[in-house]
Amino acid sequence: MTPLLRLFLLLTGFAGAWIAASAQAEVLVVVSESGGAYDEAADAFRAELQRLAPRQEVAVSTVGSLGSMGEYQLIVTLGSQAARSVAAMGQRPPTIHSLLPRSAYDRMAGLKDGRDTAVLLDQPASRQVDLIRVALPGFARIALLEGSESRELVGQLAEAARERKFTIAREVVLRENDLFTALQRALSDPAALIATPDSTVFNGYSIQNIMLTAYRQRSPVLGFSASYVRAGAVLGLYSTPAQIGRQTAELAKQALTGGTLPPPQNPRYFEISTNPQVARSIGILLDEPAQIRAAVAKLEGSPQ
């Protein structure tokens, strides 16, 4: 190698290092794993942040390749596994934990008020009850199944339902064997059954029993994901990963411009989907999802 070439390489190396330093990202997004919902949320987060704060650089890392975080101004975790890994690190910048359920967030250790916050997947209880009021005006009864992980959540739903003058059928399911009886009791008269993200009650295999019993008792199910609607729920209320990503970006913008972090938030943007086939089959005529969504948003004064 000639000395001239050596000098050239040295200079270009310096230049490269300088460019890299000037483009140092201020926000690190940590995803539980790459692909699927996490990428969808990460992409939406980046696009929205780009729109709100065009000069902000975003780096993305998976849990597995997590390095030092000291140089970042803000950390965003997507998924509960990412949230737990980041929370376990001692020294770290303020963190927004996103795309995770309340149950996972509440169980996490090492969180500090003002330095940690969350954008949760759980829809507010009031919105769920409002949806039933808007979409199923024929139903004055709400059925709730309370499991070991959903006592508080079911309490909130019952409270919201009571405020809106619904009758409540609340049954406790502590063991797998309780489910059959609880369902028979809760749905002894037709009611709108609200599914909750408590996997001790609602899971991939209890769902058959729940959907079939509800269907037979002519009771519509309100699910918390699009999959629920495909499985047979009459109504679905949920936020897409992209909507969560968007809300997370709005919160990130706020955090980057100073101040402490607000308390955990429920989703602001949401989707409603319907299963008109199941609805029609049990004698319910539904409005279009967009119409229902607009009516719910209007009731709570949220963006339409």
């Binding site: 919902a37 996972a104 997947l121 008792q217 495909r230 004698g283």
Partner: protein, 682 residues
């Protein structure tokens, strides 16, 4: 503990089944890690189009649905009995183990103008006159989810046997079954029924296994006691988020009394019928609006009923003993394959099409003349489109083309339009055509009886009850109907009216010809001995027309409380050339009505009652077989209670409070019945 041990073995057996099927653990495969899996993961599709009950307002015909609560409140021990609660149906009992049910008359001792399906499987037997084998349906009444009765032809969806109506019996889903169930019924007339059922649910498999027995002494005066043991199995295995496999299997073993006391030609004896089937249905949701289903069925049935007569009937005059061997033994094998695709769902149109192939192989020396098998094969293609041309108009157009190997292929088209006048009221217009192919017996019957004796060198023909009708072709029905459906959920009331005209042409009907048979007995007489005989055969020449209406009004303020009133009126005009005009015209009651009510009295107590009234008619059994006006009242009192972790029900049922009644012929009576039931589930 032995019980735990048994449970573990059952669990192991099911787990093994799951492993054999290669089913992946559904939850583990499809849910992302962490708590958000519940929000972002897939779920199995539970309520698919195939499982949904079509909204009555959108159905292309009149639909009556009997749900589990109604079935329980009726107190019915047999499936056929339930059809008394459907307007236009006639239900009777040829014997205690042979229920008869038909829609709009035109029937005999083996009603075959209406189709009965159990989870999509035909309950028609190709044996003899090919009626519905109610007694051989392994499904216990307690395992019935609902019965959907399509009143009117539906050959488009179900093929040629769905000539005048279709009864669709849908069993309870294995995921919606308690872990254990036990039920015992005891009553007069030797009623002693038992049902034991186990349910198993895991992410890899949901299964139900029911073992049941029905036993009683049958009707009064005739030797028709029955004991039927059934095993019924249904399982569902998720293969992935959009695939699942359904497995159905059953065994039925009946020992039933047949014949008559002191009869020379039809002696009192026991008939054995054993049936077994296995059916697999693979379902795939190609996408939300594209469902594919492939099913395979294999069924076998063995009947044993043979006996020897000595000098029966006219042979009594012979001065030496002759034997006549009667051999009704039969072997029936059925194989069926079907593929069906449903497209659309949320869009303004929906379509389903498919292909069905069925093969029935019948071996019966007595019915077909020798032991060589007769195989009937049916190939059917069908398509049905549903198009919502406007929010308040739904058009339904379909056709099926069926080609059997022993008769000409036939096309059955149907067109219907449903007009939703208001949110709660629908008018329906429908017209179309359907066919019914001759059964193997109607076409190929060769039922001969031979006398054997040491004095006769060759067995001599002494009777031929039926002969073949080689030119027999399919019969046809052309129908028109106007329906009205009013549904007022706010008043918990529905009203369903159906006005119909059904013209049957080339109807297959039994004819009888007189013959003289010659029996050669050289030792007795140099010339053959003449024996007068009557031989029946089938012919298609007459064309009756049926007109009438059916009305049902239901008020149902709660799931366990309702009052339902049904009425039907049928007028049958036989064609001018009909030698059995009177018989055909009186083959359905001019008027029949029912009231079915149940009331939840609180504290787990439910009282239910049904009253049926039917004007005189006959099951085409000649003028002597005509029934007078009949009525019958049933009453049931049930109490549901909790006992520790289990739920129990105790019920007392009385059938025909008025006393013995006839529903097949006047000389044959069913007793008033009283039985108590105790059931537990946990």
């Amino acid at each position: 503990m032995p019980v735990t041990g048994f449970r573990r073995s059952v669990a192991r057996l099911f787990a093994l089944l799951a492993a054999l099927s290669g089913a992946p653990a559904f939850a583990a495969e499809t849910l992302p890690p962490g708590g958000e899996g519940a929000f972002l993961g897939e779920l199995p599709v539970v309520l698919t189009g195939a499982r949904l009950l079509q909204a009555q307002r959108d159905a292309p015909g009149a639909l009556t649905v009997l749900d589990r609560e109604m079935i329980a409140a009726s107190g019915a021990r047999d499936l056929a009995e339930l059809l008394r609660l459907v307007p236009g149906f006639q239900v009777g009992q040829l014997s205690g183990s042979w229920p008869l049910a038909t829609y709009h008359g035109l029937s005999d001792q083996a009603p075959r103008r209406m189709l009965v399906l159990v989870d999509g499987r035909s309950a028609h037997s190709p044996y003899f006159l090919s009626g519905i084998e109610w007694e051989q349906i392994p499904l216990a009444v307690e395992d019935v989810e609902r019965i959907e009765v399509f009143r009117g032809s539906n050959a488009v969806a179900y093929g040629a046997n769905a000539f005048l109506g279709v009864v669709n019996i849908i069993s309870r889903h294995p995921a919606d079954t308690p872990r254990w169930r036990f039920k015992a019924t005891e009553g007069n007339d030797g009623i002693s029924d038992r049902t034991l059922s186990a349910g198993f649910q895991s992410p890899e498999l949901a299964a139900r296994l029911t073992v049941s027995r029905r036993q009683d002494r049958g009707l009064l005066e005739i030797p028709d006691a029955r004991r039927s043991d059934h095993v019924d199995f249904r399982a569902e295995l998720p293969l992935g988020p959009r695939d699942w496999l359904e497995v159905f299997a059953g065994l039925s073993r009946s020992r039933v009394g047949v014949g008559e006391n002191q009869s020379e030609t039809d002696p009192s004896r026991r008939r054995h019928i054993d049936l077994g089937f296995a059916q697999v249905r693979w379902n795939r949701e190609l996408d939300e609006n594209n469902h594919l289903r492939v099913s395979l069925l294999h069924q076998t049935e063995e009947g044993r009923d043979h006996y020897t007569l000595t000098n029966p009937g006219d042979l009594a005059a012979l001065p030496f003993p002759v034997r006549v061997v009667v051999d009704y033994d039969s072997t029936i094998t059925r194989n069926e394959f079907e593929v069906e695709q449903t497209l659309g769902g949320t869009s303004p149109w929906r379509m389903n099409w498919g292909l069905n192939y069925r093969e029935d192989r019948l071996v019966s020396r007595q019915l077909l003349g020798d032991r060589s098998p007769f195989t009937s094969r049916y190939l059917r293609v069908f398509a049905n489109g549903e198009w919502r041309i406007a929010p308040d108009w739904l058009i339904n157009l379909g056709a099926s083309l069926e080609d059997p190997n022993f008769a000409k292929a036939k096309l059955a088209p149907r067109l219907s339009a449903n007009y939703h006048m208001t949110q709660s009221q629908t008018l329906r217009f429908a017209l179309g055509q359907a066919h019914r192919f001759p059964t193997p017996f109607e076409k190929r019957a060769d039922m001969r009886f031979y006398a054997e004796s040491s004095l006769i060198t060759e067995p001599g023909l002494v009777a031929q009850s039926y002969r073949a009708a080689p030119n027999l072709e399919a019969e046809r029905v052309s129908f028109q109907e106007v329906g009205y459906l009013g549904e007022w959920p706010q008043w918990r009331t529905t009203v369903d009216l159906r006005l119909f005209r059904e013209r049957v042409s080339a109807m297959i009907e039994r004819r009888v010809e007189d013959r003289i048979l010659l029996l050669d007995i050289p030792s007795l007489s140099p010339t053959p001995v003449p024996i007068p005989a009557q031989t029946a055969y089938f012919d298609n020449s007459v064309s009756p027309t049926l007109r009438g209406f059916e009305a049902v009004a239901t008020y149902r303020p709660g799931l366990r409380s309702w009052i339902q009133i049904g009425h039907s009126q049928i007028h049958i005009d036989a064609s001018a050339n009909d030698p059995k005009a009177d018989e055909n015209e009186r083959s359905a009651p001019r008027h029949s009505s029912f009231v079915f009510a149940a009331w939840d009295l609180g504290r787990g107590v439910q009282l239910s009652a049904a009253h049926y009234r039917t004007s005189g008619f006959g099951w085409s059994a000649g003028p002597n077989g005509r029934l007078d006006d009949t009525h019958r009242t049933d009453l049931r009192l049930a109490y549901r209670f909790a006992l520790g972790p289990s739920r129990g029900v105790a019920a007392l049922t009385a059938q025909s409070l008025e006393g013995p009644y006839s529903d097949y012929r006047p000389t044959q009576e069913a007793n008033r019945r009283l039985f108590a039931t105790l059931g537990f589930e946990f």
